[in-house]
Each structure stands twice: as structure tokens, then as C-alpha cells.
Symmetry: C2
Subunit: 245 residues, 2 copies
């Protein structure tokens, strides 16, 4: 019986995959995904069939996974980070619809909010929002409105897709919106190449972030009003120390 | 040289731990944590020293981890879900301060937003907020304000700690706030005992959620305006199908 497992492989290194994701990749017949993600896992799982599609061919890729599962294969559809959070799981469900076959299984993985936070210190100890600056599928006005509400709510904010081809100034514009509601010295952080070669972090103010160069391999963290820097790390306290114990 | 590794063990089952978390637990000398979480991993890592503290003794627990690391031990401080998101990582950094020893390492794990979403379907394909209803360390008014802003931003919302002892009606109150900005038939979901015995999900409307019984083992998901039910699963599309390909 064929099946589509939509597998979040985490930030990219083997150690940050879940044991379950590793098991599913070992047991599957076919690995399908965007070329870059398939390349991240290819060497570790020999003997599989690997099928890739280009970055913007999501519908084609998910339909291919469903079709192969209907033929009886165990298909692992790999996504970077989590398979649900900005991942392919929803699209696989949508394309299959109510037909019940093939079986769909969602295997979650570490999203960049988790893995990036761990590299930066602990910026997400309190309530937070995750917002993508990609306007490929979302109106830019809605993204701006979400940033503004999240800032007013004093949520920490994790920004995915801070930059990509054709929209070099989105992060700068986002910072301008945030600066309407936050002080310019708000603690921010950038995590780049999380779990991959060249992993690095930068801790900087919101003022500096506005002018910063953050490419498509970066995840950006905006602190809440309590966030501070401790020994070069970005830390959002939850308030345990202030408690009467 | 001693070290504190703050380890997110995910929802509770072995398969949903990361390979790195498993490695760190295998290699450490001492496992420290809240009793319930230590019990989840105890049998799998024999030969370790296990130290536990009660639920509200977070400062004591983290200080114990630091002290043991200063004595030269490799300490794994376990947290359920992620070690950063509502976890102990920030407190360990705060208690150590700028002293640079012992070394602190944050090992992220699957937070309930990821693992719960995977069980429910794919509710977090688009921007979302994570908000805890626990007012032990946070003013209830701030929690209410965050819910209201998140709803107005049309973010999907993940609610942690929907209920605990002494605050049985927080989820109901939260739903009342959300109902000011969302239709009563908004698709919602509850994931209970994620990755543990008795795992189950409920898909329901916001109106039904307001009256629902959600205990402290539940994580609650509120859809955004696009969220729908497909074959009993909670699905938030991202918009790939509407794209011109």
C-alpha cells in the first residue's frame, strides 16, 4: 500500500533531524523534493529513487508524490525545516482531497524558529509570531499589517524569507513598520545557515537590522520588550527569576 | 570540562526526539528536569544520575544544573517540546550571566506547535502566533491583548496551556476575545497527548471550542480565515493552487 510521508528534515544537518524522519527516509522507496533539499539527504539514503522539481513547482511536486503513492510506492516528500510550517503538507492534503487514498502522514521537523533560536540563545521563551516576508503567495499589505499587529502585541517576531530575488528591500520596509511601535534599540538577531556549513549569528539593534544585509539563508528574530543580550546571546526572559518562590 | 545542555525532548515519544537530543542524553552524566519529563526518558538512558524538582522550582532546577556543570559534569537539562520555546534555556543563561562558565548548549526539540500541527493535518502553513494562556508569569491583560491583536492580524494562533489548576475558564475567555474578531464557525483544532499514549484530535468550530473541555495536555489551534477541513484534517492553504504556474 503506497503512502505519502511529508517529512520535515529540519535545518539541514543530520543531527537535527528527528529519529522518526530518519526512519521514514530509510524505509521509503522514493524521495521527492526541491533539488536543494533532496541534495541535503541524498548521500545518507542510498538505493532510493530521487525525484526533484524546481523551486516554484510545488503543485507538480506534490501531485507527483500522490501519483507515485497511488502506484504503490512509499514516498517521502522532503521539506526543509518543518513539513507543516510553510511546508508542503497542506498542499498534499488539498490535492488529494476527500479521496482518502493514498494515506498521508505528516512528520514534523525543527522549523527555523526553533533551530535558529537555539543558535542565537533563547529569544522565544515567551509568546511570539512567525511571519514570512515572501509576497509570492501573500499580499504585501497583509504582511505589513501582520507585522504591525505583532509589534503592538509585544510578541517576539520571527521573520522567514527576509529577502529573496526581486525583493531586496523587504526587510528594510518591515523594520520601518516595526520602528513605529518599538524603540530603535530593540534587541534583534540574525541566524544564517542554521545547522549547515558557515552557520553564524549576529546580534544587533532594530536600527542596525534595518540596514543589515540578510540573505535568503537567514532567519531574523525581533525581541520583545524584555529581550536582552547576555554574553553575546539573545535572551527573552519569561519571569521565573522575579517570582516569589 | 562540565557543560549544561538544555535539551528539548519533543512531545514525549522517542521517535519525535532529534538525533542530537538522543546523542546528548546518551553522552551526559546527569539528567535534570521536572519529574514528569525525566520519567519520559529515564528507561532509555540507564546508568545516568537523575535529579528532579517539582513543577514550580524552575530557578532551583536550573541552578542545580549550573552547579553540577561547574563541578565538571556533563548535565542534560530536559524540557518537553523545545528547550527554548517556553523552556528553560533563557533561565539557564540568566542564572549564569556573563561568567562564561559553564558552557551552555541549547538543543532544540519539536515544540507542540509543530508536533500538534502534524497530528491535526497542516494548520500552520501560513503566518501564525504562539500564545500561552498561563498567567503564572504573565499578566492576564497582556495575554488578552495579544490574542486580540493576533486575531485582527488574521494569524493562525496556537494556544499553549489552555487550562491548568486554578484557571478553568481561561480558554473560554480567550475564545470570547477571538469571537470579537472572527466568525463563530472558524475552524479550530485540539491535539491532546501528542506523541503519547491516548493521542487524539478534535476538529471543531470556534463556537464549540468556547465550550470545549481542553485540559493541560492539550494544545489548541485556531485557524486563519483560509483554514478549512479536508477529510477530517485541519488545513490552512498557502495559496500554491491559485498560482499561475
Amino acid at each position: 500500500m503506497g503512502k505519502v510521508s511529508v517529512v520535515g528534515i529540519g535545518p539541514g544537518n543530520y543531527e537535527n533531524m528527528t529519529i522518526k524522519a530518519d526512519m521514514v527516509l530509510k524505509e521509503c522507496d522514493i524521495v521527492i523534493g526541491y533539488t536543494v533539499y533532496v541534495d541535503l539527504v541524498k548521500d545518507r539514503y542510498p538505493g532510493k529513487e530521487f525525484l526533484t522539481t524546481a523551486m516554484t513547482r510545488e503543485v507538480q511536486r506534490c501531485q507527483m508524490a500522490i501519483d507515485k503513492a497511488l502506484e504503490g510506492y512509499k514516498v517521502a516528500m522532503v521539506c526543509s525545516g518543518d513539513s507543516g510550517i510553510y511546508g508542503m503538507a497542506a498542499l498534499v492534503y488539498e490535492l488529494r482531497g476527500d479521496k482518502q487514498v493514498p494515506e498521508i502522514e505528516v512528520i514534523s521537523g525543527l522549523t527555523a524558529a526553533c533551530s535558529g533560536a537555539a543558535v542565537l540563545g533563547a529569544p522565544l521563551t515567551h509568546d511570539f509570531a512567525v511571519i514570512s516576508l515572501s509576497d509570492r503567495l501573500t499580499q504585501w499589505e497583509l504582511i505589513c499589517s501582520r507585522l504591525s499587529y505583532a509589534a503592538r502585541a509585544d510578541l517576539s517576531i520571527v521573520i522567514y524569507n527576509p529577502r529573496s530575488k526581486g525583493r531586496p528591500d523587504h526587510l528594510k520596509k518591515a523594520c520601518e513598520i516595526l520602528l513605529d511601535h518599538m524603540p530603535a534599540d530593540r534587541v534583534c538577531g540574525i541566524a544564517q545557515h542554521i545547522g549547515r556549513e558557515g552557520e553564524n549569528i549576529r546580534i544587533l539593534s532594530l536600527r542596525e537590522l534595518k540596514e543589515a544585509d540578510a540573505d535568503m539563508f537567514c532567519t531574523v528574530f525581533i525581541g520583545n520588550s524584555m529581550t536582552k543580550v547576555i554574553d553575546g546571546k539573545m535572551i527573552t526572559p519569561r519571569g521565573y527569576r522575579e517570582m516569589k518562590e
